[in-house]
């Protein structure tokens, strides 16, 4: 999938089915490799993390966004710009804590689970899209924002909506001299 040099801002499209199938094959293979759901979830999170640390520079280079000055700006940026650019969906953002550091993204459409109805009985606690959590966590870490990202609700597990929770952690030391 190499691009010709001198290319402008065109989006190099590949088939969405191929992407969804690839992700499905990945999760299926991980399920074969690991017995426990927690192991599969951890593995997906780690993979997502290594994607996220690289994806963030691609996002910043192409979207030329300014630095976010607050957690809510950051959460909005993730939902409205990043999700839109990479997955084509726009989750809605809501702040779920008085301290202003916990946010949840509600996805009503998730392209990754288009062809998945529900989880098999023996895989009841599998977080199918845990890769996304890792991606968000990795990307935020590279811009010096430590966060915990988990699935709070999942349609595949029978909940009403799919909800990703982002909790920004306060770092103990002062970040002033790193953020310039």
């Amino acid at each position: 999938m190499s691009r010709s040099p001198g290319r402008k801002q065109e989006n190099h499209k590949i088939s969405r089915e191929l992407f969804v199938l690839t992700y499905g094959a990945l999760v299926a293979q991980l399920c074969k490799d690991y017995e426990k759901d927690e192991d599969v979830n951890t593995c997906l999170d780690r993979m997502g993390y290594s994607i996220g640390v690289r994806l963030i520079d691609d996002f910043l280079a192409r979207s030329a966004v300014k630095k976010c000055r607050s957690y809510s700006e950051t959460a909005d940026m993730i939902a409205q710009v990043a999700f839109k650019t990479y997955l084509g969906v726009t989750p809605s953002v809501s702040c779920s804590s008085a301290a202003g550091n916990e946010f949840s993204l509600i996805l009503d459409k998730n392209p990754l689970v288009d062809f998945v109805e529900e989880l098999p009985a023996e895989r009841a606690s599998l977080c199918y899209c845990n890769l996304l959590c890792g991606v968000i966590r990795g990307a935020l870490e590279m811009v010096h924002l430590a966060a915990e990202v988990t699935f709070l609700q999942d349609r595949l597990k029978g909940d009403a909506v799919t909800e990703i929770g982002i909790t920004f952690l306060r770092k103990p030391e002062d970040r002033k001299h790193k953020r310039n």
Binding site: S2, R3, P5, G6, V53, R54, I56, D57, D58, L60, A61, R62, A64, K67, M142, V143, H144, H177, K178, R179, N180
Partner: protein
Amino acid sequence: MAIFSVYVVNKAGGLIYQLDHYAPRSDTEKTFSFPLDLVLRPHDERVVVAFGQRDGIRVGHAVLAINGAEVNGRFTADGKDVLEFLGNAANYPVSIRFGRHRLSSNEKLMLASMFHSLFAIGSQLSPEVGSSGIEMLETDTFKLHCFQTLTGIKFMVLADPRQTGIDALLRKIYEIYSDFALKNPFYSLEMPIRCELFDQNLKLALEVAEKAGPFGPGS
């Protein structure tokens, strides 16, 4: 209009990529007879011209080669001390090549980390909170433009002072980095970039920026 070099510095201040795109070659080779009318003196690990500028040999130029054989710091290829060799009438006539000493890779590493520290100092000296670091360093022969990404990587471009479009070029280099370095699964973050595609695309981008010339887009 020329772009002289590109440096990429990682978060810790280490140089991970360096490209010399255009180095104005100003070597001069001349044959001299005893006594030498240039005044030479040792400087660091080299022998440089201290006085007696003439014919393209400028003050500050280092002795690069004697009789065609490259010197090794302050010693000739045979191991003799350069100043002693040139002080001995029996060795004349001798052909000496003078030129501007090019930085070794160690020196570049050191200078990149020094710039990284100065960049941080620049943002701290600012009377305003949340200022950026050094964005441009201007001298009479070149301008150094620096762009720091939100992830902490710095891209520096040294160019002719009249060259325009460097801001756009820096953004383009960021894109090329995010494409050909980061998307290469065998490239580890923060490590020296050894990706062929990155080199090729960077050189292409530099050529495009140079051709745009002083009337190019942006500033």
